[in-house]
Symmetry: C2
Subunit: 168 residues, 2 copies
Amino acid sequence: MTLQSRPEPADAASLQLDAYLPYRLSVASNAVSRLIARAYEDRFGLTIPQWRLICVLAEDGPMNQSALVSRTGMDKVTVSRAAQGLTRRHLLERSENDLDGRSHVVALSLEGVRLHAEIAPLALAYEAALISGLDPHEVALLKRLLLRLQGAAGVLAGETPSPSQALA
Amino acid sequence: MTLQSRPEPADAASLQLDAYLPYRLSVASNAVSRLIARAYEDRFGLTIPQWRLICVLAEDGPMNQSALVSRTGMDKVTVSRAAQGLTRRHLLERSENDLDGRSHVVALSLEGVRLHAEIAPLALAYEAALISGLDPHEVALLKRLLLRLQGAAGVLAGETPSPSQALA
DNA sequence: GGTGGATAGTTGCATCTGATACTATCTGGC
DNA sequence: GCCAGATAGTATCAGATGCAACTATCCACC
C-alpha cells in the first residue's frame, strides 16, 4: 500500500498508467516493432528504415531522398543512412546526374526488387498473425484511429506548445 | 507460402506500407511519444521512463526495481537508470536496508508526490486533446486492441520464431 | 549576372537504448 | 555449514536516433 497515510489527490488518482493511451500505444508499438525489427534484422540484415525505403520504392518507383522523407515521415538523416546502407549492399541504385545537381534519384536495383518480393509475404504473414482473431472491422477502425492520433499529435506538436488551446 | 512462384507476385503488390499495421502503429506511437516526451522534458526535466516510474509508484506505492520492471515492461537497465536520475533529484528515496540485501525499496519522496500531482493533470489534458473528437467507445476499443496486439507480439516473439505456427 | 535565401544531402555530436558481462546476495540440496 | 545456481542491480559497450551545423546547389530578384 501507500507509504504516506494521506491518499492521492483526485486528479492524480484518475491517472492510471495502464489505462493511459500514450502508454498503451507506446508499449504495444515497442512490442510489435521489436518483433518485426528482429525478424528483418535476423533474416535479411535490414533495419526498419531500410525496409521502409524498399517498400516505398517498390510501391511508387524511383524518387529522390526528400521525397522519401515526406513519404515515410522519417528524418532525413535516417533516410540518408538507410539509403547508404542499401546502396552499399547494391539493393539501391543512385543516379547522381540529374537536372538538379543536389539530389540523387534513388531506385531499387533488380536485387532489391527480388528482396522485396521475398520479404513482402513474410511481412504480411506477421501482420496476419498479429491481427488473427480480430474482426476485420476492428482492424480497419484501429488503423483509422491510429491515423487520427498521429494527426492530433502533429497538430499539438506543431501549432500549440500546450494542449490548453485544443482543450478550449 | 508462395515465395518465388510468380515473377510479379500478387503478394508483394498487396503490401502497401500506408495500410501496413506495424507501420501505422509505429508512426502514430512515435508522433505521440515525441509530443509527450518533449512536454515532460521541457517542463519538468523528466524522461519517459522516469515519468513512468513516478506514475507507478504513485499508483501502487513503494516497491523494488524488479517489481517496477515487471510492472512497466521496461528493461531493468532502463529502470535502474531512471531510478538513479530520480534519486539524484530527490524525487525518489531508496531504502537500502531490507530483508533482502540485493534489492532496494524505491518510494516517491514527498517532493516526488508533489511533482506527480502537478504533472498528472497535464498528462490527462494531453490524452484528452489527443482523443478529442473520438467516440469514447472507439477509444475503449482502441486500448483493447492495443493490448491484444501487444500480447500477440509477445507470443510471437517469445514462443514462435516465425509466424507460420500462428498462421496454421 | 551576381547575391541572398532556400533546398538536398552529409557529417558530427550528444543522447537513448538494449544486450552482455559482472558483482553482490539469496536459496536449496547435500 | 557449503557450494551451485538463481536473482537484484550496475557497468560497459555497440548501435540507433535526432538535432544542429555544414557543404553544395538551385532559384529569385535586382
